[in-house]
């Protein structure tokens, strides 16, 4: 640190250097502000951690001290330097010097920018009418916002329609979902479209133009924010363990049998966990299947007391207070747990299951009138379509990817679009309801403010004469932020400020160099490169 401090003092344009253990702490921020005021600084460079989390803070500190926030440059000497070169201290320090020199060179050429303000329409679009979407819709309506709820199926309720009772309280799923549907249907702020699809989404936070296709045709609706609550779907284990939907069934089919009341002939039930999950093809743990198996095992024992229920498992994922209690209850009721290894999975035959009990170290044969396979929740088949429509990402398993896995679990990286329920990742009833409420809260913030302030680091038509109106950039823009307009000078591209995310695709594509990105102009980047080569 000391070496960097000394070095930075030798750089051109540098008037003042200060070192902090935590520049982002209240003390550090105050020192920066004091520096700007007392030293009359006209550019600020912070060399520290990542701009992803801290740039907004430092920018606003500059602003509070009277400096335009876009005269600030952040140099990341942590993630891309000290972290990756942990074992090479000397080279790492040399690289940090390079990075700082480059940052300073760029900062010298930065220009002040003014932020862009835009109004927010106080109407939310909720996609998906399952428990997550219903919870979020009702919450937003209680807050006084208009809600448009779009469900692709003919009726609301989603997965809960097909479930019997919900653990750990053994609440009747049908009654619960009926009550939620009633609340939503009765609310005059909520417009429900069933058997409908969102077919187009244009625009940006506060001003989305949404097209909904229903049986009676297409409708255009102005929307301020969008909530994705499209849920998941149970994996169908075709070809696994002799799955036939009759003697070898899934937990979802088990729910139906329990609803109808079990046949009293069912005396021996064997459940197999991790069918189609935690394997090569689908490495993730689907979180809720162990809870479902334990709950259904208890319900089987409640219906047929002398039934023998065995659960073949790899790890019993009964996290938390309620799950672990339910797990113990099942044991007290006589449910048997048998550990198997992925390397030696059980084998299901016509009326029995062979399993290598890895804790006893021996083969066992279990009689089975019914084999129940615990399969994971997987992403909706049309998750990719929704992802493209909304221009939000999905992860490697097809679930929607939130803005930050720890700190922004219910937001997308794109402003104005939010996420809840099993569309994000498998979740139980408690978690889904909490997320539905939480996403509603997140979505209500821009609506209650009534306007949003958008980053001005965006594309600009720097050289209008050079633009030939070829519209190559318009075709490539991932945010629909560009359009061609007829002007006095002919066809020219126009940037829709609020929609632009400043990704730079257009500027990189334009062979006429007509477009550029604020704070990433050619001369700024060239100055950085020159500084590196010095």
């Amino acid at each position: 640190m000391e070496a960097l401090d000394d070095y930075t003092r030798t750089l051109p344009y540098v008037a003042f250097v200060q070192r902090h253990l935590y520049s982002c702490s209240e003390g550090g921020i105050n020192e920066i502000k004091k520096g700007i005021e007392e030293q009359n600084l006209n550019r600020v460079v912070v060399a520290s951690c990542t701009p992803r989390t801290h740039e907004p803070l430092f920018r606003s500190s500059c602003e509070e001290a009277g400096l335009n926030p876009y005269l600030f440059e952040m140099v990341n000497i942590r993630d891309q330097c000290s972290w990756v070169h942990m074992q090479q201290q000397v080279d790492g320090t040399a690289k940090a010097k390079d990075l700082i020199r480059m940052g300073v060179a760029k900062a010298a050429l930065l220009k002040p920018q003014e932020s862009i303000m835009s109004e927010v329409c106080a109407r939310a679009l909720v996609i998906g009418g399952g428990i997550a979407g219903l919870t979020a819709s009702a919450a937003l309506a209680r807050r006084g916002y208009e809600v448009v709820l779009v469900e692709k199926k003919e009726g609301l309720g989603g997965m809960l329609n097909r479930l019997h009772k919900l653990g750990p309280t053994m609440t009747d799923a049908g009654e619960l979902i009926e009550e939620k549907i009633r609340e939503v249907m009765q609310h005059d702020k909520i417009t429900v479209f069933t058997g409908a699809r969102v077919t187009a989404v244009q625009g940006f936070i506060g001003k989305f133009d949404v097209e909904v296709e229903t049986e009676s045709g297409k409708k255009k609706i102005d929307i301020g924010v969008v909530l994705v609550a499209t849920g998941g779907r149970a994996f169908v284990p075709e070809g696994l363990y002799g799955y036939d939907g009759r003697r070898v069934i899934t937990q979802l089919e088990m729910e139906q049998l329990l609803k109808e009341g079990l046949d009293t002939d069912v005396k021996n039930v064997v459940m197999i966990q991790c069918v189609g999950s935690r394997d090569q093809e689908r490495p993730y743990c689907s979180r809720i299947c162990c809870q479902i198996a334990v709950k259904n095992a208890i319900l089987i024992k409640d219906q047929i007391q002398d039934a023998r229920v065995s659960i073949l498992y790899r790890d019993m994922q009964m996290y938390g207070i309620e799950n672990e209690e339910m797990f113990r209850e099942s044991k007290a009721k006589g449910v048997r747990y048998i550990h198997y290894d992925l390397a030696r999975p059980p084998q299901a035959e016509s009326d029995q299951v062979l399993v290598y009990h890895s804790l006893l170290g021996r083969e066992m044969t279990l009689t089975a009138d019914l084999v129940v396979l615990s399969t994971p929740l997987v992403a909706q088949e049309d998750a990719n379509v929704s992802s493209q429509l909304l221009r939000v990402p999905v992860d490697e398993n097809g679930f929607f990817l939130e803005g930050h896995v720890k700190l922004k679990p219910l937001d997308f990286a794109t402003d104005g679009i939010y996420l809840c329920g099993s569309a994000r990742f498998p979740a139980n009833i408690r978690e889904v309801i909490a997320q539905g409420l939480g996403a509603a809260s997140r979505a209500s913030i821009p609506m209650s403010k009534g306007s949003v302030v958008v980053e001005p680091i965006i594309s600009v038509l720097a050289d209008e004469d050079a633009c030939r109106g070829c519209s190559l950039c318009v075709a490539l823009c991932p945010y629909s932020a560009l359009e061609i307009r007829n002007t006095e000078k002919g066809r020219k591209v126009h940037v829709i400020d609020v929609a632009c995310k400043g990704c730079g695709v257009c500027a990189a594509t334009c062979y006429q160099h007509a477009l550029t990105i604020n704070s990433y102009t050619n001369n700024q980047l060239e100055a950085q490169i020159d500084a590196f080569l010095d």
Binding site: L21, Y22, C24, S25, E26, G27, I29, N30, L57, S60, M86, A139, R142, R143, G144, L166, P168, T169, T171, L176, R278, P283, Y284, C285, R287, D315, M316, Q317, M318, Y319, G320, I321, E322, E324, E325, D341, S358, L359, G361, D395, F399, V405, K406, L407, K408, P409, L410, F425, I429, R430, E431, I433, A434, Q435, L437, G438, A440, S441, R442, S444
Partner: protein
């Protein structure tokens, strides 16, 4: 934290406690005691000059007692607000001794030894509990010998040792080694002092201490004119030798010290245990894996063994992280509960366990053992629950129902995070938004009722 500290709609009352609550949803009247810091919050800039000069050093609670702080302190470096606080249990001035150094060095004139607690009342529509949890104290489990064996630490202590801003700057120095190094430092300080004294005497008598001491031992200075002085010199030199010998021995011992490279993580310490908490704390499997991965990043020779019954890696990307830890970070997972931890040679803890896959009881020696302690309800929660009238579950967490996951038993009072039940960061963040939603609904409801009443 900073976002909260800087938000124009948030009044942050740190170092304060709720004493009384009256009223009902939409119209609560809350009495808050703002505890005296002996530092004026409007004046203190958080510069830290006072803490630097304060002569009283106290065990640092933020670093789990592994480091020290001053009697005037901020809880941790990035803490919000950065206002410092004087710890009245240790401050010399407040204990009636002469000091007041902080008052002298404070350029903002913020120190006020006469400050008193302040009682304020707040009118609020809704209340959210986010009081978190306590780390289970594993010294209640006699067979794990926490505190008896120095190199058995809790996951939170380990977290501080791994932290670049922690007491070891991220180096995995073993607690037993740190104790030896602290002893060496003390002895060296004493040695320096005694050297200075001896140098003066040597100058006075123009002779080396060793030479003199040899002659003195042989009785050369009996009946010397300056018998008293000579005796004093001899005593001083004897004391000096008494420091030298153990110091050399300790230094020799310390030569062999390296950072801890062979780590054992013990899961379900106080959780899934009928003597303490029968529930699963949910997040501990993941923090053990994470700590093992980070330890390996710091020192590539590190190997870690995680002992657990089930490894519960159930959130997004967790199972994949667990497998990656095994493939890339030298982590192995042993299915079995640790039955005993003993102390082996060189302060190495020895873990005794049943490997349930091999069906054998085995024992292994490690450099350090990390206990994945349970999520315990926070100590103050019973008192707080009484003040607010909210019900607790049988373990002492705030009671909710699965269908109203953030509503307590009192309307208008909500809860989020580990005050409700054990949960990890993304769940807590999501729940915080849920509680904010429910609180906002109350506010809106109240506003519309008022509007109706006016109409």
């Amino acid at each position: 934290m900073l976002d909260v500290g800087r938000h124009p709609n948030i009044a942050l009352l740190a170092y304060s406690e709720v004493e009384k609550v009256e009223g009902q949803a939409g119209d609560f009247n809350v009495t808050v005691r703002r505890k005296k810091r002996y530092v004026e919050k409007d004046k203190c800039t958080g510069c830290g000059a006072c803490a630097e000069k304060c002569p009283t050093k106290v065990s640092d609670a933020f670093n789990e007692g592994l480091g020290s702080r001053s009697a005037i302190y901020s809880y941790f470096a990035q803490g919000i607000p950065s206002t410092h606080t004087i710890d009245p249990d240790f401050c010399r001035q407040l204990k009636g001794k002469k000091c007041g150094i902080c008052e002298k060095v404070c350029q903002a004139d913020a120190i006020n030894f006469d400050q008193e607690d302040m009682i304020i009342t707040l009118d609020v529509g809704a209340i959210i509990f986010a009081v978190g949890y306590d780390v289970f104290d594993p010294s209640q489990i006699p067979e794990y010998r926490y505190r008896e064996i120095p190199n058995v630490v809790t996951a939170m202590e380990f977290e501080r040792l791994l932290s670049a801003s922690g007491p070891t700057e991220g180096h995995l120095d073993r607690p037993s080694d740190r104790t030896v190094e602290a002893e060496i430092a003390t002895l060296e300080k004493n040695l320096k002092k005694s050297k200075r004294t001896l140098e003066k005497l040597e100058k006075k008598y123009d002779q080396t201490s060793a030479q003199f001491y040899n002659q003195y031992q042989q009785g050369q200075y009996q009946d010397d004119r300056d018998e008293q002085g000579r005796k004093k010199w001899a005593d001083k030199y004897a004391t000096h030798l008494a420091i030298m010998e153990p110091l050399e021995a300790l230094k020799k011992k310390a030569e062999g010290f390296t950072v801890a490279k062979k780590l054992a993580f013990v899961q379900c310490v106080g959780s899934r245990d009928f003597r303490f908490y029968p529930f699963c704390s949910g997040y501990c499997c993941m923090h053990s894996i994470k700590e093992a991965v980070i330890a390996h990043e710091h020192e590539p020779e590190t190997t870690s063994t995680i002992f657990g019954m089930d490894i519960r890696a159930v959130s997004k990307g967790f199972e994949e992280y667990k497998i990656r830890g095994g493939n890339n970070s030298n982590i192995s997972y042993v299915r079995g509960r640790v039955s005993e931890i003993m102390e082996g040679p060189a302060n190495n803890p020895v873990v005794i366990y049943e490997d349930t896959h091999k069906r054998q009881v085995e024992s292994r020696e490690f450099d350090m053992v990390i206990l994945a302690t349970a999520c315990a309800p926070t100590k103050g929660i019973i008192k707080l629950a009484k003040v607010f009238g909210v019900a607790l579950d049988k373990y002492g967490f705030i009671k909710t129902s699965p269908l109203s996951p953030v509503d307590t038993t009192v309307p208008g009072v909500f809860v989020c995070g580990c005050a409700e039940s054990p949960m990890d960061v993304p769940e807590s963040v999501a729940q915080a938004s849920s509680a904010a939603e429910r609180a906002a609904e109350i506010a809106i409801q109240l506003r519309s009722e008022k509007e109706k009443a006016v109409a």
